[in-house]
Amino acid sequence: MSAPNGSLLSVQGIAKRYGPVVALRSADLTVQPGEIHALLGANGAGKSTLVKILSGVFPADAGSVAVNGRTALLRKPGDSMAAGIATVFQDPALIPDLTFSQNLRISGLARDDVMPWLERMDLAHIDFDLLVGDVPLAFLRLLDLARALAHRPQLLMLDEITAALTTDQAEHVFDVMREWKEQGRSVLFISHRLGEVLAMCDHATILRNGSHVADFALAGVDESQLVTAMLGEELVEELAESAEDAAVETGTLTKAFDTPVVLEARDLRLRDKVNGISLELHKGEILGLAALEGQGQDQLFQVLSGDHRPSSGELLVNGKRLNARSPYDAIRNGVVFVPADRQQALLPQRSVRENLTTPLYNRVRKWFTLAGDEADRVDRAVARLDIDVRAGSQAQRLSGGNQQKVTVGRWLASGFDILLCFDPTRGIDIQTKAQIYDLLRELAAAGSAVILYTSELREIPLVCDRVLVIYNGRIVHEQDAATATEEILLTSAHGLEEAGA
């Protein structure tokens, strides 16, 4: 086969299908030595599949891969490492029940191999005897990165590494990427954050529906051009229109809500994580929450969704005190939760329909079959969310975006008053994001109330009516969402400014 001269990685015509679902039709990718190359595409475009094939997780059905001009057979992860490719996956590949130092050992590495990289990421003080299971996800990604770098790969593949990282952690990753590039080695970078892509990458390869659609040098390109290439012309126009509608809608909604308060928190506390949070949520309102990683938002949602009892403080739903012992109590009172991690919400081996009806089990009166009315609700939820049910026999076969739609759809089918969304669009493509945000606005217009925590600050003015910023378990900032710029939110999220605009 003829690899272009001197390219580090040359992928041609890779195809992969899972049963009836075609994940990749024909993917081409060429990475030169000493470049940072972006792999872009909407969810379901086949990026993750391509990364997994290049990592040797599973073999391709067709096509060829060449590294340094030599054909490489990637049948297992070891083959890929031997060929000089190291990957940091979205779910860190570290063993939770072993210490960090034991994790290095099973990869055949010593502390000294990773130490230079840890130093560069300000993690040199790490205790190597910590159990990996006790380390928060953001740090795990960085540890996994250090481990990948220690193998000194020719090509480093980073799959959505910056999702869930704080700004300064992401900066460390960028520093490392730049250094890797200076050493004449390459990085394949996958991110939904186009700003990062434009700032860091030299070239981009774009996949759409499992096929290679474009390659470009990124100098002088702007975000809208990338989006156009990723989604195709027509979709972009559609999205732009709906974004305009959204702007108008939010504009009209930005007023003090005079609708009744449906959820009220009074001085909620949970150990040292939630330090006295009080808030009011009105009917028909979307309340945004912004915070850096680990500021108590996880625990706040656990309390609100009935998963954890607060150490003190009280929670009122529709003016009535809610003393939930488990999510069951919260759900019965109309408070439902959409987690960031789809795995916490889905029954992966069961069908999409079954997943959608799970919350209905509590009220199935006629045993054995779901009543016709309930089957209708499921159909409506599938249609409303535009869920791709081709792979419907098992929810785990769906793409991440479709899985997230199912986690929201479950509640549509069963009904609710208050929807708690914890970063529902993490690692999801623009198109699905737009659908989910549209849906939230529609639900609010129909009288539901929504609390939305999102790690993507720029989306807050688009979706929310009001925004609260949490720092160190306290609310440090409150304002109308329409005027909440990324700068304001970031500044207060770092706890640098006690009272904002």
Partner: protein
Amino acid sequence: MTAVTTDPLASGTQPGWRRWLRRHGWTVGVWLLLGALIGYYSTLIPAFGSFQVASIVNSGAPLVFLAAAQAVIVIAGGIDLGVGGMLVLTNVTAARFMEGQPFLATLLIAVTIIILAAAVNAGVGWIINVSRVPDIVITLGSLYFFQGLALAVLPNPGGGTSELFRWIFTGSRRGIGSNPYPAIALIAIVILGLAWWLGKTRSGLSLYAVGSNKTAAYLSGIRAARVKIVSYAIGGAFAAMAGLATTAIAGRGNANTVGGNLTLRSVAAIVLGGVALTGGIGSVIAVVPAGLILFFLNPILSAMGVDPNRAQVVQGVLIVLVMMVTGLIEWRRRRTT
């Protein structure tokens, strides 16, 4: 710039010994429980002495080895219902071929049996990999297969072994006496060696890795399929050790011993020893006292004047209590992190 209040990566304010205790508390606890039970037993028996100690250690040895076999496989994310069958099969095979042989020949036969048992059980692991049938189903099959094979090897109880071979496992040429040291030394060497391999070497840690998170292990370049085969091979070798110990103690083989019961006791022992049935967690060093305790309950209860048939009730309650305590510890740990 970011005001970080607590650093999740630093070793923190906890002193080292507290963390050591948190991680190894279970092991320490099971050893202390064994010590306490022996202490209590010595007050029940007027003539408590080296004979009693020897009888506990010698007779408990097969269960200790069998529990170690089960522990290795469970740590790697499997479960082997066949270990009891393997014990019976190796017990009768040894008794049949060792009868009337000189010491060196019996030793050679023992080594051969261990190697064969490892190879056969590796085959069981291989079948699980290839067929993708759950471990519990395939090894239910291997349990009956080994048991049936044992009856074919030695239809009636009998056979024998050399006196010196009996001494290795029991400290006595007749299989019964008051010298516990050879058995203690044998258990200590074999189990410490196994623990060192599991906890310190790359190949041993791979077992924990696969049992803890198979996907992450695979992505780290570990060959999960190979690890499963290795864990079953080592399990087979340790089940053979248990079978050989049984031959040495009894001086003969008995294919009528019910292997399934032995398997269940091995599972009970690893649960008491703190090995997580979900894989990835546990120490073979804690499995030793756990196996001895389970064996030891019978003599204690009979010394207390309890009907031996009730001993099983106590064992059952003990296992459930242990599981409840494990659950409680895990719950508290999750609350504090």
